[in-house]
Homo-oligomer: 188 residues x 2
DNA sequence: TTATATAGTATCGATTCGATACCATAATCA
DNA sequence: TGATTATGGTATCGAATCGATACTATATAA
């Protein structure tokens, strides 16, 4: 069992990313968690761009996340749009300033630099290892997986470029199925 | 280039560990960063168990770390011992309560559980992947590597169970060379 | 001896974070 | 239909992180 070793590496790598994030974010008066929330909102689909879903993703209470989002809105990195069908729900859309910020800082310059020193094979192997580790962790703990539609058991391919979600009973475009979803459930 | 994918996985895994840590630590009134500091101090050698080294490891300012350590001391998880040679320096020793705490919470129950579902091969592969990723990141960014003496260019094997550090010019036991060191430099 | 570097601490203000209380809308059910 | 309950979200408070700054004590260099 190499549990401890794996734990140490993940903790250390996560830590380093956080240090980068703190330094980069400081330039715009942003905290690591705020960048992370913005990052999430940039890669999730229309079922998942709400404060509630963000709270589930970050593992924080909705009150905490509400404050985080307020800061991001005040700084002009996202705007809130009330849902047409359910007026309790708000959707969080990145502004162009928000997009620009992420392109600049996510991943951090340091991390990009490091990845360039890895061979293609290494990168492929690392991706598959991390994927397995993450999926195992999420499955074991009964957590939401936040995967993309492509790997979701609810997703159904109708024809080329036409998909259908069997959970929401709505059609999805080929662009949409590349985004992560709060309702995602791994194909078994 | 799979930079973004790798970044996402690491960020997500690190995030999950932090959520576990926050929940576990809360039982003893400890924050994630405090558990992390204690964890570091439990696996570092006698050159590296100081506030300064902890600050370098965590990537935080010495002032910040000083407060973290004060809390851990007040709660009885570590004690401070002034260095004999340099009276500015203090060494941080875990108490038995500190040891016990780590055994209970590091790695988190959830993480141990998840790792048990991974095959031996998977674990071995994950370890080697993460190691490569971490080393590349640290090397690229000119960071301290915080490795164990075994992989350090300053370490010299005299005979079975007898080692010597060419940096500090001191002998090291076979037990000591399994601990991480702030002066560690990878063999090239 | 004087200056400078280093290890560490103390204090302050901005911010995170969870807990609690609260509001508005939706869903349930008698 | 009308009352109850559930859900999404916000506001406020207190404890804690974190960096910046200023500070003390010891060690090293000039």
């Amino acid at each position: 069992m190499k549990t401890n070793q794996i734990y140490d590496y993940i903790e250390r790598l996560g830590n380093l990313l956080r240090v980068d994030s703190r330094r980069d974010g400081a330039e715009h008066g942003l905290q690591p968690v705020q960048l992370e929330a913005l990052h999430y909102l940039s890669v999730c689909n229309r079922y998942s761009d709400t404060p509630k879903a963000t709270s589930e993703y970050l593992g924080q209470t909705k009150g905490t996340v509400s404050q985080t989002l307020k800061v991001l809105e005040k700084k002009g990195f996202l705007r809130k749009v009330t849902d047409d069908n359910d007026k309790r729900v708000v959707h969080l859309k990145l502004t162009s300033a928000g997009d620009k910020l992420l392109q600049q800082f996510i991943p951090s310059r340091q991390f990009k630099e490091a990845c360039q020193h890895l061979s293609d094979e290494s990168q492929t192997q690392i991706v598959s290892c991390l994927k397995e580790l993450l999926q195992t962790t999420q499955r074991t703990n009964g957590m939401k997986t936040f995967g993309v539609c492509h790997s979701c058991r609810f997703n159904q391919k109708i024809k080329a470029d036409r998909y259908f979600c069997n959970l929401t009973q709505e059609p999805l475009s080929s662009k949409e199925i590349q985004l992560i979803c709060r309702e995602h459930e791994e194909v078994v």
